[in-house]
Symmetry: D3
Subunit: 127 residues, 6 copies
Amino acid sequence: MLDPKHRRARGLAIYKKMGWDTNPDLKALDPELWRLTTEFVFGEVWSRPGLSLRERELVTLAVLITLGTEGMDLHLRHAGKLGITDDEIREVIYQAMYYAGQPRGLFAMKRLKGVIAERKRTRRARR
Amino acid sequence: MLDPKHRRARGLAIYKKMGWDTNPDLKALDPELWRLTTEFVFGEVWSRPGLSLRERELVTLAVLITLGTEGMDLHLRHAGKLGITDDEIREVIYQAMYYAGQPRGLFAMKRLKGVIAERKRTRRARR
Amino acid sequence: MLDPKHRRARGLAIYKKMGWDTNPDLKALDPELWRLTTEFVFGEVWSRPGLSLRERELVTLAVLITLGTEGMDLHLRHAGKLGITDDEIREVIYQAMYYAGQPRGLFAMKRLKGVIAERKRTRRARR
Amino acid sequence: MLDPKHRRARGLAIYKKMGWDTNPDLKALDPELWRLTTEFVFGEVWSRPGLSLRERELVTLAVLITLGTEGMDLHLRHAGKLGITDDEIREVIYQAMYYAGQPRGLFAMKRLKGVIAERKRTRRARR
Amino acid sequence: MLDPKHRRARGLAIYKKMGWDTNPDLKALDPELWRLTTEFVFGEVWSRPGLSLRERELVTLAVLITLGTEGMDLHLRHAGKLGITDDEIREVIYQAMYYAGQPRGLFAMKRLKGVIAERKRTRRARR
Amino acid sequence: MLDPKHRRARGLAIYKKMGWDTNPDLKALDPELWRLTTEFVFGEVWSRPGLSLRERELVTLAVLITLGTEGMDLHLRHAGKLGITDDEIREVIYQAMYYAGQPRGLFAMKRLKGVIAERKRTRRARR
């Protein structure tokens, strides 16, 4: 069992490994939702041994694709940090699609396209 | 692109690696549903390179947990063949649960418990 | 616009055409749920012109398959009264499945199999 | 059983009957998602006898309304080609709504309104 | 049992208590969807004794958060009329989130933020 | 902010107020799922001020009805402890049903009936 005192520190450490910084957008949206998510979802669940961060992200992407939620964008954006390429995300979408339904695959592919386009714009702007 | 002529053979080969034999229960339920699933879901999607079978099963389990469907039992029963232990399935459940909702985690854990109990009964009967 | 005074009578007339008698199981479960369903869902919506009862049942089956609910059994049992054969229900399942996800198709096919088996038992008992 | 060699040709033929041309937006989004959808969903499922294309579209609309997905727009836009009028789509929405929930009906009605407005703009621009 | 003749009047009375005026946006979207919603959902269900309007709104918000639908905005906007503060809506979101999944909580929180921002803009414009 | 050190004690205190004892069935199913649920869902979320336990249960019931999950039984069984009568649960079902869909209402009503029947059997056995 993980030490409950260090939940927040562990959550922040996971954010860092994921390339999410301190997850500032969620903090700005609602500090309490940020605290609950950081301490619990990241400080407890994501911090567990037993599955790699890469595998935890594959599982999470599959759930988010099934729910059909915009909330997947943050994950699509940073999955590369956990060693998941855009082509691998495509495979997750094809795989999830036959179980979750074709429209969920379609929606996820559009979000992925949006995230890739956004990344290109950012890179171009930086040059 | 995989050769479309060999879809069924590829699907059957995947079933074998998964420990599903020829997926006979689905064939008995509805031969056409079996054919569509074998040729397409397994002969096309599961057969793709780009993700390991272990990772495809993790993704599939996550979708099935999110849907909260009894259909996950076949996967829970044979995940070990793809190198996924019961403890790793538990981790998938904990991970999926915060995104799919606690009742989906509870439901999946009950199915897993049922599958483990069934396995023990079968082993005892064989002795 | 349909006359609001005759909602209940219209609902009962639809039940009769569907072969549901007065929908007594729902009445026994909860008289108020029965009243709300009869007057509104059947006395208003099912009673509208613009789609045939056969088409309304196809639409309803598709929604119920997507939700993955046991509540579809009553519809599977009596769809024949509206001219929908078991083979046509199978087609609805195959069609809905790629949009709602394969596990929803699997679940619906099992319910259909159960309804067909139940019908055979009833016929045998009557002889 | 339909000849598996001609899946793609059959899928393209269905697209044509539906007024979707070759479904170019999906192809542009992701060629592999287009191939899987064309060969399988359209070349296999939509191509089956047993239900008319009109009835397959009614079933599909009902699933898409239940899922509450933007993906329904393409179907709303072209349903007329399969003989489904806007008023009939409204009836599908009213019918699906009591089973899928009022918010799914509300969402679908807004998408339908959007599609009708878009059609008017296109017509005006052509004059 | 409520008198069926007065369904519409009762529905309109509930709208007024909720600060929805006559729900004109829904009427403009589709008069028949407005009629069905007003007479049935509001004239029958919301009009029932047995739960306060505040409690009916809490229940409704929880369903809408779970469905993850934009349709929640009208409720978020006017919940104050039934004595539900923005802070209480936040509590509903935290509470619903562990059962409906974190992404549904995230989505609802963003809608609430949007509604609060919109309210501020309206107030500023009025000065 | 609640003191993170006392999460488990707070969770157990909530269980007691709800008449759930220590939630032993969940503990027997999976000790880690029990710990995560007790410390976080009950020790954090249910323990918050801002809504009464009665209101938190109304919200929770609405989510569970929408998900259509068997997991609602424990809540249906003990809602009385938080001052929610069976008739009030019926009102929650009617209210949630028009938003979550009639089949979710039907499913919940059957679970409620099952819980009421079980309670009667227990009382009779005790005499």
